[in-house]
Symmetry: C2
Subunit: 251 residues, 2 copies
């Protein structure tokens, strides 16, 4: 892993641009005591680190309030990474189906999500290997955000993922519904009830499928990008509760 | 309204036994400054004040932490009140259908819920009239708890109800789904995902129907009576946010 640059943001957050193999990433570190260490939250996002940067900083800042470090990796086929032609084709099919108000074929959903997740899971795991060797990072890891199928498969593949906030704002292949039954970590699912381009029933089915002894579903209004601040705070409390960080904000 | 007795509980909560007309009730008041006043939360419950007393005290205590007074009224046909034969018949039909794993008829659900709600709404309103005249009670009123159809109809009937935590643990007549579209107050719905005796889909349909610009659904595991503590805290924060009580616990 290379650290390409670093800068200090308002609120004393240290932002580092990374390269893990050929995957760009960003790490945000909260202020720490010299001997301190912060659990890491891996931020799920739709891809395009540059475009997502302001939103990711806001999420990293919220996590830092609870003592967490945050990291985001560029997704395969997004941002500065080479496009994946199969993924682009599946996206075009999805747009066509949605534009025509036709049902989206299961095969389209599979090709939209599964190759992306297959490529991203080992990249996330390699990043966790590299990041966990950095001073100041330690303890369990949380997953928080979108590309819900990546959150599920990464949590099933990597025992370091101890809790997950899963944002139900992406298409969900049927095979992920089956695999979700094997989940055992605590899950907090955020569902935007009126997210018109993402099927609500699939999210409810996925929540139902999770085998985790503790799972909570928080549904709110506000559209795909309109998660209310109180719902973000609640998700932060969930992570603080399960990743063992004491915080006044997490009370 | 008669105040039949009063006693001070641990945590300095003042508990008063009431009679509003011929309806027994209990009022819990938090400690107040001499000139202070507390907004009131009307606690929904399944009926039987004596049997519910320990659980109601715990809920009143939680609300008092945020500066709220709480009140509970005996439901028509429950506790020390005369039984309602039509209601008892509907309950027997429900038990028979559930025991035989047969679908519960809409007509049974209607007779189980609607006469109860029709009788309870004016009783609740009369109690709000009487309680709001007491020193130390003032401001908007919240509804919090079960008998979700009562919460809906009371909120639609009485403009003092400014926010509602609705516990989806009771049968929901179809007419309530229609009426719910007229709701405009902020709603936080608690759904126990694996509450086997109450239909989950009806609760999701009701949540979908609410016309309120702010509504949130919190689904958790734990069975009908197993609402996790964190979900109770979240519901308390919702009420504190909307009923305008400043509280460190509500941050």
């Amino acid at each position: 892993m290379q650290i390409l640059s670093e800068r200090r943001l308002d609120g004393d957050l240290l932002e580092r641009s990374l390269l893990v193999g050929d995957v760009p990433g960003i790490l945000w570190m909260p202020p720490l005591d010299p001997s301190g260490s912060a659990p890491l939250i891996l931020l799920g996002h739709p891809g395009g680190l540059d475009a997502q940067h302001p939103r990711l900083i806001a999420r990293a800042r919220r996590s830092a309030q609870d003592g967490f470090a945050s990291a985001a990796l560029e997704l395969p086929g997004s941002g500065s990474r080479p496009r994946l032609s199969a993924l682009e084709e599946a996206r075009a099919e999805l747009r066509t189906a949605l534009g025509a108000r036709e049902p989206v074929a299961d095969a389209t959903v599979d090709r939209l999500v599964l190759p992306l997740v297959d490529a991203a899971v080992p990249e996330c795991r390699a990043a966790l290997d590299a990041l966990s060797a950095l001073p100041g990072l330690g303890g369990p890891v949380g997953y928080s955000g979108g590309i819900i199928s990546l959150g599920v498969r990464l949590a099933l593949a990597d025992p370091r993922i101890a809790a997950a906030v899963l944002f139900a704002g992406s298409w969900i292949p049927r095979v992920i519904l089956e695999e979700a039954r094997a989940m055992r970590i605590p899950i907090h699912m955020l569902l935007q009830w009126d997210d018109v381009d993402n099927p609500r029933q699939a999210a409810l089915d996925l929540f139902d499928a999770f085998g985790s002894p503790e799972k909570s579903l928080a549904a709110n209004l506000g559209g795909h990008t309109g998660v209310p601040a109180y719902a973000g705070d609640e998700a932060a409390r969930f992570l603080a509760r399960h990743l063992g960080v004491a915080s006044s904000r997490a009370a």
